[in-house]
Symmetry: C2
Subunit: 165 residues, 2 copies
Amino acid sequence: MVDSTKDIHEPVVLDEIDRRLLEVLKSDGRISNAALAEAAGIAPSTAHVRLRSLQDRGVVTGFLTSIDQRSLGLGLQAIVGVTLRPGARQESIVRFSEEVRNLPQVLQVFFLGGTDDFIVHIAVADSSAIREFVVEHLSAQPSVASTRTSVVFDYHRNGVAASFQ
Amino acid sequence: MVDSTKDIHEPVVLDEIDRRLLEVLKSDGRISNAALAEAAGIAPSTAHVRLRSLQDRGVVTGFLTSIDQRSLGLGLQAIVGVTLRPGARQESIVRFSEEVRNLPQVLQVFFLGGTDDFIVHIAVADSSAIREFVVEHLSAQPSVASTRTSVVFDYHRNGVAASFQ
DNA sequence: TTTGAAATTATCCCTCC
DNA sequence: GGAGGGATAATTTCAAA
């Protein structure tokens, strides 16, 4: 008996074949089923069922396309660390963070326990757009105590983690 | 005449159709060519040519699979900020950073201009694995002056930026 | 460049091992 | 749970506008 509405995280058991499939898919999400099957040493029909199972079990949460941001006119990336005011209301923080993560400049948001309360990874056109982003969307917020902006000189990605639920 | 060996970044011109294709592909890298064509309002054969062109021009740099790290037994994510010693030799920094970004725990590395010289996004099994990672792979390095570790409580991703060449 | 249509492949479901 | 086979549907190429 499997519950189809799983809001909580139930343990997932992956065997060697699953891990091989994931290893291939990690860096080639658009590989054909036939090629995926061959890479994992199984029949195409089996690979097909396996991949569906990985999606159903929530192991594979989606397929993404890596896009060169410069081509979109967004040649500059930055990391902005944000510290919130100690007295900020919980509900206003939640609303604020949801606004931030839906802004078009935002690639990723990390909510942290530590010095910064969260950090935002953005891609923008130029340095004035960074300042504009920070002033308009972060500093202007009453919940925000301070921000620290760092320009991204180089960036490397090994894999893509799923957004938390 | 197009140079196939483009090491430098040449300007890319995207029209409205290209942008529509990218918007769809961004969050669904495995969409079928037929569905992609319909979403962009063009013929499947055109969508096919267009997508190939986007790849050839370096706009689309790859297709990735978003994987729930918890399923892999990596239930904890952290951000580690690293400051390098002012006197560290350039070549040792380069070698070190290349080692770090190839570690299996590492999801992303950002090289920054600012307080931290770079930050590392990792996924590990538990808190002792965080400590192990920092001690073994970061603090032990002679180039490293200090590190600051923050646990990731929540994570959200809007899109995937290409790794810098 | 875009398209429609043809040739080739792949997907997907069903059945059997 | 994995593999085979076959109907369906997709991708890819190409000629033409």
